[in-house]
Amino acid sequence: MSPLPLSPAPPHRSARPSPTLSPSPGGAALESFVYDDAIVRKFLVATIVWGLVAFTVGLIIALELVIPSIVNYTTAAGTRPFAFLSVLIEVPFLTFGRLRPLHTNAAIFAFGGNAIFAAVYYSTQRLCKARMWSDTLSALHFWGWQLIIVCAAVTLPLGITQGKEYAELEWPIDILIAVVWLGFFGGNYFMTLKHRRERHMYVALWFYTATIVTVAMLHVFNSLAIPAGWFKSYSIYAGVQDAMMQWWYGHNAVAFFLTTPFLGLMYYFLPKAAERPVYSYRLSIIHFWSLIFIYIWAGPHHLHYTALPAWASTLGMLFSVMLWMPSWGGGINGLLTLRGAWHKLTDDPVLKFLATGVTFYMMSTFEGPMLSIKTVSMLSHYTDWIIAHVHGGALGWNGMLTFGMIYWLAPRLFQAPLHSKKLAEWHFWIATLGILLYIVPIYIAGITQGLMWRAFDQSGNLQFPDFVETVTKLMPFYWFRAAGGSLFILGALLMAYNVLRTWMARPAAYQQPVQTAPPLPPLRDARPVFVSTLTSNTELGKRGDVWIQSFASGWWHRVWEGTPYKFIIWTIVAVASASAIEIVPLFVVRSNVPSIASVQPYTPLELAGRDIYVAEGCYNCHSQMIRPIWAETKRYGEYSKPGESVYDHPFQWGSRRIGPDLAREGGQKSNLWHYQHFQDPRQVVTQSIMPAYPALFEDRIDFDEIQRHVRAQAMIGVPYGQAVKDGVSQAAARAQAKEIADDIARGDGSGNGPRGLEDKRIVALIAYVQRLGTDISKPPPAPAR
């Protein structure tokens, strides 16, 4: 029994404006159809299962950052109680660099993806008054997407990756994604729109449409690559251009995968749960078009003060700041939908989740534009501030909104009352506490580390010259983060249990209520008849008069608007034109990427080392981009130039420094130092939290593969010359490997170093690391004869 006096009948029954929901001039016969809820049930269950996987992998990698600080802890009795945890920092397929992409991909595409699909399949059918166009496509979409997720879960821990954040999956999976997304999902969705029985496409459908179109475009263009085998490919873009493409994709993955579809979800499920229409439908339209137009430009704000040209970076910043207004307009629109229904928040966990989700949306979309301002980015970039920001968004906005939707859908889909409302309330409070316990310490960690990097002492030297000092400082915060994440998982487990029990109480057979609605009249019937009132004119004049009347009445626009194609085309125009204006100049205007004569392609062995660097996911912790900031040039050396990464397919600038920047690492330390460091980083840097790489000391270099990889690089324009000929790269690689192995064998000069490394993968990785950033100090090559 509701404790509140207000439990009215749903207000819309009386308040709805005179309904003409199915205008059927001429009284068209009603059509019968049944909604396909079985597919929504599938996506719902997949959302919960993959959500638990994504969150758990997140917890594992959070622990991996603190384990190295306790693994060598020795008690008074001489035992090492935490030694067993070393498995997480030594076994190759469990290292942070390999699991972090699994975590991000699972959270975005498996948890977020399935949640989007559940929302789209449930709401589209009802908003269109039509069953999904094809049950076969629905099934192919569901199983195809699960197959992609399984492929990701297998390949990423194996180190099979393209090395671009959130776009790590290798080319065969990329093709599968394109087919499943656009072919199965897009095809099914657009055909359902085409066969809808409600003329007006509700704004949620606009957001879904923009999502499908734009994600397809982003995915295809960012993933263009030349295969060098079934499990290896090289991005066709390099350096600055690859960075621009990647963050155009990366930021719009946030915009069009984690924002627009979830806004569609909000605009459908929030009115449902609040039993009120959205506060302002007009505002929702402005919200839509502003986001579509503006979001697509924002990507370069991920690259402030890098080698990206300043105009692109400024453009990204300006558009990001502009985004603040429509985002808050939309957020307020969502919250005000609860007008007159705020009392329901106390009683309804669904509304609690949804309202909290929208609140996090507003926090994230305030913080995002702020972070995109160059001077703020100077402090926040490469730090945990960004990690806190995205988790506020992902856990708070995407997570809470999804949980709210699940609690609203579960009783309706499983046709049984929710097992326990109390448990859902518990989930809400545990999850909220978990999010706060996660993000607050990580904000502090981020700002702490950012300030430590730029701190100078009285004599003008870096106050914390040892990078590792700025990392060990963060350990307490990382423990809090792990605790917060655990709470969030606990909440999700409660939800899984709750939904499971709800499912167990389902009826023996689901009811499949038959819906009826008249078909839409053909669009041409919407054309009014116009008669010219002119009397003393020629026939041509009268025809012209009719045409003008017809045009001015705007009926054609209504017709055009009623077709989904107009919508799709406008969306494409909005996102593609913006993308082209921002990206094309980087490719066609020479001055954007000035070349440097002394920068040469990697040697075949260094290329093999680079492949290892990419496969191990080193970019997840190490940047290769020194910004022109005093504190950075002081710490790392000369700032990075655009011309330095012209042969970097893919670029490896990174986005987070859990370890130091490596852009000028070459020649800083001896080969032997690197050997020991990769064997066990704590041998040389006691407080290091980097994983050990024992497998690289066992595995042999595949010299034949090097030849293939050099050829693939040559195909995308890297001037390898004679090295593409059979055997040339192999011989060069063997010679360089022997040189490095001999140097390591010399040890401290007395020949006491480790031996037998000529064909071990570690040598290739050392060759690459020793090359980094050394080219600009070399003399330019002699001109070719």
Binding site: P17, Y202, R412, P417, L418, P585, V589
Partner: protein
Amino acid sequence: MRMSDIVSSLGLSIYPIVGMVLFLGVFVGVIVRIASRRRLAELDRAAWLPLADDAGPPAHPAARTTPSEPTP
């Protein structure tokens, strides 16, 4: 002579301003269109669409079990 040399010498510096004008024009166009009174009734009706499918059958079992007071 490369593609990039040609494009660099075209003198395209006016286009950012053209782009801005177009951009603002589209935005103002959307606002004007949304704000027109003629559209208000249509948009109001559209806002109710998500709630439309609740009106008809079936009553969800979940809804049946929700405690509700008899309305006068």
